[in-house]
Symmetry: C2
Subunit: 155 residues, 2 copies
């Protein structure tokens, strides 16, 4: 019931978290990006209870994030691979703000071995979002309380 | 119990989804980015059951994503504001893959009114991640099954 109410909202974030805003779901997508495809491999790596994992995999097939092949392997669809930025930004936030030791995962470019540090920029100008003052326009801002001293960027 | 097990894993994504991988939590952070600070405003906008909202706000204060001021208003900390890329990438995914009508939220630059389209790039070269072949290195890749025909980027 809660999840239905979320998806009904006129907000893409609500729809996204409704689809993938479940801890196990995001970890399944992460492992699928890393090349895991078999139930037993997901289960061994994540330690997810089997019934929970089975349910999450079925949901992800149902919403077209994963497809299931004839041998029972799970593979990301285009819609699923498009979740990479969500996974990458979550990893970065966890590295910076949740861990207190060194990040255990490095992203490196194949071939050169160069370290990659992903940041969000405006596509056209390539200016980092952190250096822009950006506001959201649309239904999600309806009925927002009046901002006082809005020195910080709004979304 | 499930959440504790996730946080214990040696993976920043697991730690992040453990902290904020709950639908209501992410929507609270979205609204806080948009300038919402009062309990009644969160409640009215999100329709969250009051007990659930109260619990999520307390959790977010406890993990230092929000602070509570003397008047009972909630404000993002630096750790909380650092979640903006996660919220933005989720919004984009929802816009592209979950909605079938026009996205209801536009991001525009204050002052110029120019539309902003955020993309992830490598900070040093500003090359979009989608154009790079990237692999993950670290504990999260331990015990990964052998990749066959790995033409697609790994994370």
């Amino acid at each position: 019931m809660r999840r239905t109410r979320l998806a009904d909202r006129d907000c893409s974030i609500a729809k996204s978290v409704d689809a993938v805003g479940d801890p196990w779901t995001l970890l399944v997508v992460r492992d699928a990006l890393l090349g895991v495809s078999r139930f037993e491999d997901f289960q061994r790596r994540l330690g997810t209870p089997r019934a929970t994992l089975s349910s999450r995999l079925s949901q992800l097939v149902e919403i077209d994030v994963l497809t299931k092949d004839d041998e029972g392997g799970y593979h990301l669809t285009d819609k699923g691979r498009a979740l990479r930025p969500v996974i990458v930004t979550m990893m970065q936030w966890g590295d910076r703000w949740v861990r207190d030791d060194e990040p255990p995962t490095r992203l490196v470019e194949e071939g050169t071995g160069r370290s990659i540090r992903p940041i969000l920029v405006d596509e056209e100008t390539r200016v980092p979002l952190d250096e822009l003052r950006i506001r959201a326009e649309g239904a999600v801002t309806d009925g927002l309380p009046h901002r006082t001293g809005a020195d910080e960027p709004a979304l």
